[in-house]
Amino acid sequence: MKLSVLFQIALKSIWGKKLRSILTIGGVVVGIGAIVFLVSVGYGLQNLIVEKATGLDALRIIDVSTVKSQIIRLDEDSIGRFSSFENVDNVQVVVNVPGRVKVGGSTTDTVVFGAPVEYLDLSGVKVDQGSVYENDSSNAIINSAALNVIGIKPEQYQTFLGKEVNIELVLLGELIATNDSPEEQTVNSEVTLTIGGIINDDNTPYIFVPLKVLTDQGIHNYSQAKVRVKDNSQLANVRDTIESLGFSTKSASDTVQQIDQIFSIFRIVVSGFGAIGLVVASLGMFNTLTVSLLERTREIGLMKALGAKRRDIFALFLFEALIISGIGGILGVIFGYALGETGNYVLNTLAVATGNEPVDIFQTPVVFVIGLFLFSLLVGFLTGLYPSRRARGLNPLDALRFE
């Protein structure tokens, strides 16, 4: 018997018992809908946290440093090599040295970062007052923590821009050393720079200066490089290659991986709650199919008497289970999605009304939706298996006489 014909008969028998079918499908809808809704919260929160914690660009960046700076140097050569990797689209470096800022009579110990503008971009460094320097200028950017220590109040920031400061630098020997002269002594030096920008950051004092300021003082090696890959799928690959050259690496994706792990556990837990609904729904479906089997025992007998094969009857009942679970799955996914979107709408309206940034708490990835639909079909298949097998095994004569 053609499967399409069996499918139509199955459809008709479901349509023939409208109320029962609607209630059964409704059970599946609630079960699947609950899973979609709950898991969407999981995905939504996860994305929210990952985005807030790292920014999307950060997921493409590898921080490269060297642990044995005497042997493996992070110098012009290494940077050139990183840049030549196929999937790398940007490499920027930074040098950090201890220093001391002098303004008038006050001084403070600070970290001095020598970095090109492009590095600041890549790191997401933003200037709150004034502006970022040019790479060949002698301007510097200082943070509020440093200004605090030397006694500059926030209301004086504006007037402090454009002031000259003296910076004492401690140039570590390992940063000066090259392959030709591997043993270099640490030296002190001093530069005078103009404050061009201020960053509001009260944690630890630091100052950014153009990289050229430090290389002009004789520095040949860098403390750290940021390597950006074209696509975050290539990150692991590039990272392995860099590590195989003896460098050590870090990436925001490490953190993201941990967040992902935590949330995949969270999703399993909330899916578990939703699955309770689905279990109840599949019991309902099982009940419906069993009752339908009893009611239609004579019909099955008739179809067998008219020549239907065992597999025809099996397929007929399995189709019914698959149709119920399939429709339930589709509607359930729509229901759960709509519930999540409504949640987003309400929360965003509230957020905007209270002056907060709108965020999507519910996110439903397409792959997950498709997966869940297939899962509901699987549940239907398993639930339908027993009634279908029973229907298949009925003796036609007994079935015809069944009252």
Binding site: M1, K2, V5, I9, K12, S13, W15, G16, R298, E299, G301, L302, M303, K304, A305, L306, G307, A308, K309, R310, D312, P396, L397, L400
Partner: protein, 254 residues
């Protein structure tokens, strides 16, 4: 003399187990059914005639013996193969109307063809023709339970015809019908034999139908009591009119 047989039962016995006892419902029955003949199996209720019919259509495999249809021993076939045999070789008219309730009249009639895997177009065209043969085409779109008993039985005949089977078996098709509907069904069955050269085997306990038959077997207590061919039948009907009436009354009470 009749030509080559269509069905041959050879020493068919059927036992049912009731509790610890085996009850013999059919006892060593051997008979032949011929093409283009109207054959009656008659006997009182419980005589085993329906079981005999179910043996012929492969719903009830015999305990012993062989059932040859078109030269093939169908008692030896597996369940699916017997389904296939029923579908292609036999058309069955039941005493009780049996329907797939969610399907309308014509859809029910198409079922045997759809089960064969025929296309919908072909099946519906054949079903229309079949319904026309029994005069039920105008009810094609109705649901079967909406029809009267006689109308349902005619649709049942149409369904039995739709695959153009060589053998049509009917198990007391008029059992639940008024006399007018009975006569209509009977004339359709007779026309199938006379006009379409089908072989019809009918189980009945109404002896008035004997005059329509080409051959009759009387069954009593699971045994073949007597076989009548056309000549024997007319002799029987001539000589035993009165006992027939007595017999008929006796059977109507059961």
């Amino acid at each position: 003399m009749a030509s080559k047989h269509l069905v041959r039962l050879a020493h068919v016995s059927k036992d049912f187990t009731v509790g610890k006892n085996d009850v013999g419902v059919l006892k060593d029955v051997s008979l032949h059914i011929y093409p283009a003949e109207f054959t009656l199996l008659y006997g009182p209720s419980g005589s085993g005639k329906s079981t005999l019919l179910n043996t012929i259509i492969g719903l009830e495999p015999p305990t012993k013996g062989q059932v040859f249809v078109d030269g093939r021993d169908i008692a030896k076939l597996g369940e699916d193969a017997r389904s296939d045999y029923r579908n292609r070789t036999v058309g069955v008219v039941y005493q009780q109307p049996h329907w797939v309730k969610t399907l309308n009249v014509i859809e029910n009639v198409t079922l045997p063809l759809l089960i064969q895997g025929r296309s919908k177009n072909y099946s519906f065209a054949r079903a229309e023709y079949s319904l026309q043969q029994v005069g039920m085409l105008e009810f094609a779109k109705r649901m079967p339970p909406q029809l009267s008993g006689g109308q349902q039985q005619k649709v049942g005949v149409a369904r039995a015809l739709v695959t153009e089977p060589e053998l049509i078996v009917a198990d007391e098709p008029t059992g639940n019908l008024d006399s007018q509907s009975s006569d209509e069904i009977m004339s359709i069955l007779v026309e199938l034999v006379k006009g379409y050269k089908r072989s019809v085997v009918m189980v009945t306990h109404e002896l008035r139908f004997l005059k329509l038959a080409d051959r009759a077997f009387s069954i009593l207590d699971g045994e073949l009591e007597q076989e009548y061919d056309k000549a024997a039948l007319s002799k029987f009907l001539e000589n035993y009119k009165e006992p027939l009436d007595i017999l008929r009354k006796g059977n109507d009470e059961t």
